[in-house]
C-alpha cells in the first residue's frame, strides 16, 4: 500500500499550513514503509486539533477525552499485545491535563509509541498557553501578561520519568518524523517522540523554527549523559536522543489451565 492509501479520505479540520498535516503524512509514510496492515494499527488520541488525527488515517482509532490518550492506549495494548498502538495528541493534552499519565507511561514501559504534537499552544480552544509556551508569550487573552512560568521540557521530563526511547522531530520535515516513528515502532517498550508542530494560526512566529532546528546524530543509552544533554539543550535539536531498552510491561501472563476459580470458596463438611 502507498502512503496515501493509508489516508481515510476524511478532510482534516486543520487550518491550511498547520504542522499537524506533517505528522499525518509521516504516519502514513511510516505505515506504508513498514507495510503495516491497517486493521492491525490503532491510533489513540485525546482532544485538541492534533487529537483529531486518528480519523484521517485508514486504520482503527480512538478519539477519547481530553488528556487520557495514554491510559486508553495502555489498556488496549496490554489487552491486545498483537496490535500496533500509537498514542498521540497535543502539548496541552499530553503535558497539561494528561501530565500524570505521561510520567507513569514513561515508567511503565508498555510497548507503544507516543507522539506529542507540540505547538506550544491550545489550538483547539483558540490560543491559550500550554505547559510548553515560552514564558513571555502574551498573545493569550487568558494570560495577557504571559504565563510567567518557564516552559516544561518534555524530553527531559520523559527521561526523569524513566522513558526508554526519546526523540524529537519538526513538522518541517515529515520524512524525519516518519523515520523516527519507524525506529520508535521497532523499539520494544514505550517510545516517546516530541514533534515540534507549528500552529500557524495562533503562533505564526513558529515559522522561524525551521531556521533554528539542528540535527543531532548521537544516540545514547546512558541516562546520566542524556540528562546532561537535555538539561543543556535549547529544545530545537532533532533526532533520536536516547534509547535504552528494558523489559516491556507486562511480562506475559502465566496461564494455569488447571485453575478452578471457585476452589477457595467451596468447602465440604
Amino acid at each position: 500500500m502507498k502512503p496515501k492509501q493509508y489516508k481515510s479520505g476524511i478532510k482534516p479540520i486543520w487550518c491550511p499550513g498547520c504542522g499537524h498535516y506533517s505528522v499525518l503524512n509521516a504516519i502514513t509514510k511510516a505505515f506504508a514503509a513498514e507495510e503495516l496492515a491497517p486493521e492491525n494499527c490503532v491510533l489513540v488520541s485525546g482532544i485538541g486539533c492534533s487529537s483529531r488525527l486518528p480519523a484521517y488515517v485508514h486504520s482503527y482509532g480512538f478519539h477519547g477525552v481530553h488528556g487520557r490518550a495514554l491510559p486508553i492506549a495502555t489498556g488496549l495494548k496490554v489487552a491486545r499485545p498483537d496490535l500496533n498502538v500509537v498514542a498521540l495528541g497535543g502539548d496541552g493534552d499530553g503535558l497539561s491535563i494528561g501530565g500524570n499519565h505521561f510520567i507513569h507511561a514513561c515508567r511503565r514501559n508498555v510497548n507503544m509509541v507516543y507522539i506529542i504534537m507540540d505547538n506550544e499552544v491550545y489550538g483547539m480552544t483558540k490560543g491559550q498557553t500550554s505547559p510548553t509556551t515560552p514564558e513571555d508569550w502574551d498573545h493569550s487573552k487568558l494570560t495577557p501578561h504571559g504565563t510567567d512560568v518557564p516552559a516544561i521540557q518534555p524530553c527531559s521530563l520523559a527521561l526523569s520519568a524513566g522513558a526508554s526511547f526519546i526523540a524529537r522531530a519538526h513538522s518541517g520535515d515529515a520524512n524525519r518524523i516518519a523515520q523516527i516513528l519507524i525506529d520508535a515502532m521497532h523499539h520494544p517498550g514505550f517510545a516517546f517522540i516530541h514533534v515540534l508542530s507549528q500552529c500557524i494560526t495562533f503562533c505564526p512566529e513558529q515559522s522561524h523554527w525551521k531556521k533554528i532546528i539542528q540535527v543531532r546524530e548521537e544516540v545514547t543509552d546512558d541516562p546520566q549523559q542524556a540528562a546532561q544533554f537535555l538539561q543543556g539543550d535549547n529544545g530545537f535539536s532533532v533526532g533520536v536522543f536516547y534509547r535504552n531498552p528494558r523489559p516491556v510491561w507486562p511480562h506475559p501472563s502465566q496461564i494455569d489451565k488447571e485453575i478452578n476459580l471457585r476452589q477457595g470458596f467451596q468447602h465440604s463438611i
Binding site: S8, G9, I10, A37, P38, E39, N40, V42, L43, V44, R52, P54, A55, H58, S59, Y60, G61, F62, H63, G64, V65, G67, R68, L70, P71, I72, A73, T74, G75, L76, K77, V78, A79, R80, D82, L83, N100, H101, H104, P250, S253, Q254, I255, D256, I259, L261, R262, G264, F265, Q266, H267, S268, I269
Partner: protein, 579 residues
C-alpha cells in the same frame, strides 16, 4: 429462625478479627450458617476492633442488631463501638481476666470472667484468642478435630507453634465446664454436605472473571480493594491482566481501551473514585464501549466515612454524567448475589455496548457469609461483532454506529480488516465521523436510549419475597444490601401479625416501568427503604411517574445498621396510619 449473635471485641493485638474468622469456619464445618462483619477504630494498627458473628441452623444473611453474647478481650475504648454493638439486658458478657475495667453502662450485665490470657501465658503463648476460641467451641460443641488446622492456617503458624496454640485452645475448651454460659447453643437441623464461605467482594471478583472479564485496571480504595486483590494473581492465570493504575482517571480509561479491543474489562472503586470517573463514563456511553464499574459504597459525601457502609452513591451512579448519557445501574441483593449481578453486568455491558455501574456497598463487600453452594451464572460477555464478509463497505467506511432497530450496532474489533473506524466521544454520524448536526445528534441519542429501553431484561430485574400468610397490602421495597434485612423484617412483621411482601430491585436503571407499575398497584402502601440521608432511590421512583400514590420514604443514613427491627417498626407505623 433461631440465631445467636456473638460480638468479639479487643484491641488490635488481641486478635479478635482472627477469632471471628475461625469461629465462622468452625461453625460452618459443623453445618451451621452464618454471617460476620468486622469493624475497626480509625487507628491503622493496634487500635480497637470487633468481629460480629451471627449464626443459625438455617441460612442467615443479615443482622438483627441484637448481641446475644459479648466476648471481650480488651475493654479499652469499647465505647467506640456503641453505634454498632448495642448491649441490652439480654446480652451475656464474658471477659478475659486481663481485659481491664468494664465501662459503666446501664444495660451491661456483670461479666463472667475467664482467664484466657492466663491460659496462653502459662503455655508461653500470646494467643489468648485461641483460648477464647476453645471456650466458644466447647460451648457450641464445635468440631475440636478441626481446631488445629483452622488455628494453624488462619494464624500462619509453624507446625511447632501450632501445637502450642492448639494446647491453649484446649485449655479454653476445658475452662468452659467451670464457666458455662446460660445460652443454649445452636444445633444444626439442615443436612448439607458442602457450603461456601466468602465475602461479597470476592463474589464480585468471581462473577467478573466467570463472565469473561480478562482485563482489570484499578486504583486502590477502601472498601473496594479486596475485590481487586482477589482478582489479582488469578486473572493472569486465566490469560488476563490487572493493572494498578496511577489514578481512577487512568483506571477507567485503561478499561475502556481494553474493551475497545474486544476484551471484557472491569474496574472497581468507591464513591470518590466513581466521581473521578464521571467524565470518562460519558465517553463509554458516547463511544458505545462496554464498561463495568463496581462501586463498593461507603459513607459520603467526600472522603466521608471510608470504612463503613452507606447507599448514598445512587444519585451519582444514575445521574452523574454530563449530557444525556443513558446507561445501566445494577445492585446485588446479597453477598452471593454479588457474583451473579456482576456477571450480569459484564454481559449487559457487552451485549448492549454500554456502561454498567454496579452498586455494592461495604456491608456486602466486606462481610463474610456461609451460604449454600452457588451454580455458575449463565451470564457471559457477548459482543455483537461485525460480520465484515457480508457488510457492504462503501466509500464512507464502516458504519460503526448504524441505527439498527434494537439500537445495538455491530462492533468491529481491531484486527478485523474492513472494519476500521475511529471510536469517538464527539457526536458522530452512523459511520463514526464527528458531526455537530441536529439529525445525527438525535439519531444517536435515540439509538443509545432505545437499546437500553428495548432490551428484555427478564425476571431478574428484581427479587421478590411474598408474605407467607395472607395477602399483603404493604410492600417493603428496597435495593442492594438491604434486601436480606428486609426479608428478615418481613418475618418479624409476620410474627407481629402483619403480612408484607418484599421486593429488592437489582436493575435500578432502566427500570421496567410496566412491570413495576403492575406490581406496585397491588399495594395500598409501599415503604421504600434505603440507607442514605435524602431518600435518593425514593425520589428516583417518584420521578418516574409511577401509577401509585402509596410510596413512603424511609431513608436513614449510614453507617449504623439499618436493622430489620427498625424496618419492621416503620412498616407497622405506615400500616397503622393507613388503617
Amino acid at each position: 429462625m433461631k440465631t445467636i449473635t456473638i460480638a468479639m471485641v479487643g484491641s488490635g493485638g488481641t486478635g479478635v478479627v482472627a477469632l471471628g474468622d475461625m469461629l465462622l469456619q468452625l461453625a460452618a464445618g459443623k453445618g451451621l450458617f452464618g454471617i460476620m462483619r468486622k469493624t475497626f477504630s480509625p487507628q491503622i494498627r493496634g487500635g480497637e476492633s470487633a468481629s460480629i458473628v451471627r449464626l443459625s441452623a438455617e441460612p442467615v444473611a443479615s443482622f438483627d442488631g441484637c448481641i446475644d453474647l459479648l466476648l471481650i478481650l480488651d475493654w479499652n475504648n469499647f465505647q467506640r463501638f456503641s453505634d454498632e454493638i448495642v448491649i441490652t439486658e439480654n446480652t451475656l458478657v464474658v471477659q478475659d481476666a486481663q481485659a481491664g475495667q468494664a465501662p459503666e453502662l446501664d444495660a451491661l450485665n456483670s461479666p463472667l470472667q475467664v482467664d484466657f490470657s492466663g491460659m496462653a501465658d502459662s503455655l508461653g503463648s500470646s494467643y489468648a484468642n485461641a483460648a477464647a476460641l476453645g471456650y466458644l467451641s466447647a460451648w457450641m460443641q464445635l468440631d475440636s478435630a478441626r481446631l488445629l488446622s483452622v488455628l494453624s492456617q488462619r494464624l500462619h503458624l509453624s507446625e511447632q507453634d501450632a501445637e502450642v496454640v492448639y494446647q491453649v485452645a484446649q485449655q479454653g475448651s476445658k475452662a468452659y465446664a467451670n464457666s458455662p454460659l446460660s445460652l443454649t447453643p445452636l444445633t444444626n437441623t439442615q443436612s448439607h454436605d458442602s457450603y461456601w464461605l466468602a465475602t461479597g467482594n470476592q463474589m464480585a471478583g468471581l462473577g467478573a472473571l466467570e463472565a469473561g472479564v480478562r482485563f482489570v485496571a484499578a486504583y486502590p480504595i477502601t472498601p473496594a480493594s479486596d475485590a481487586l486483590e482477589w482478582i489479582a494473581g488469578r486473572i493472569e492465570q486465566i490469560g488476563g491482566h490487572l493493572v494498578q493504575a496511577e489514578d481512577e482517571l487512568a483506571a477507567v480509561n485503561m478499561a475502556i481501551g481494553a474493551s475497545y479491543g474486544g476484551v471484557p474489562a472491569f474496574t472497581a472503586t468507591s464513591g470518590p473514585g466513581l466521581a473521578l470517573m464521571s467524565e470518562s463514563m460519558g465517553l463509554a456511553v458516547a463511544s458505545e464501549t462496554p464498561l463495568v464499574i463496581l462501586d463498593v459504597m461507603r459513607g459520603g459525601p467526600s472522603t466521608g466515612i471510608p470504612t463503613k457502609s452507606e447507599q448514598s452513591d445512587f444519585n451519582l451512579a444514575l445521574y452523574g454524567l454530563h449530557g444525556d448519557a443513558p446507561h445501566i445501574v445494577l445492585s446485588p441483593l446479597s453477598i452471593p448475589d454479588c457474583c451473579n449481578t456482576v456477571a450480569w453486568a459484564v454481559r449487559l455491558a457487552s451485549e448492549l455496548q454500554t456502561l454498567v455501574v454496579v452498586l455494592s456497598d461495604q456491608f456486602l463487600g466486606q462481610s463474610a457469609q456461609i451460604f449454600p453452594p452457588i451454580a455458575e451464572t449463565q451470564h457471559q460477555a457477548h459482543l455483537l461483532k461485525a460480520d465484515l464478509s457480508t457488510a457492504n463497505e462503501g466509500e464512507d467506511g464502516f458504519n460503526r454506529y448504524i441505527d439498527t432497530e434494537s439500537g445495538v450496532s455491530p462492533m468491529a474489533l481491531p484486527g478485523q480488516a474492513g472494519g476500521e473506524y475511529t471510536a469517538d466521544g464527539l457526536e458522530h454520524t452512523e459511520n463514526a465521523i464527528p458531526s455537530p448536526r441536529v439529525q445525527d445528534h438525535s439519531k444517536q441519542l435515540d439509538k443509545r436510549l432505545r437499546k437500553l429501553r428495548n432490551h428484555q431484561y427478564g425476571d431478574q430485574w428484581c427479587a421478590t419475597k411474598p408474605a407467607c400468610e395472607g395477602s399483603a397490602g404493604c410492600l417493603l421495597l428496597c435495593w442492594g444490601s438491604l434486601y436480606e434485612s428486609a426479608c428478615e423484617a418481613q418475618q418479624l412483621l409476620q410474627e407481629r401479625g402483619h403480612s408484607v411482601d418484599v421486593m429488592g430491585v437489582r436493575l435500578l436503571s432502566p427500570l421496567p416501568l410496566e412491570e413495576l407499575n403492575k406490581q406496585l398497584k397491588q399495594y395500598s402502601s409501599v415503604v421504600v427503604v434505603e440507607q442514605n440521608h435524602q431518600g435518593q432511590f425514593f425520589h428516583y421512583l417518584r420521578s418516574l411517574g409511577l401509577e401509585t400514590n402509596a410510596l413512603h420514604c424511609f431513608a436513614q443514613p449510614g453507617p449504623g445498621l439499618l436493622s430489620p427491627t427498625t424496618m419492621a417498626n416503620k412498616c407497622e407505623e405506615v400500616m397503622v396510619n393507613e388503617a
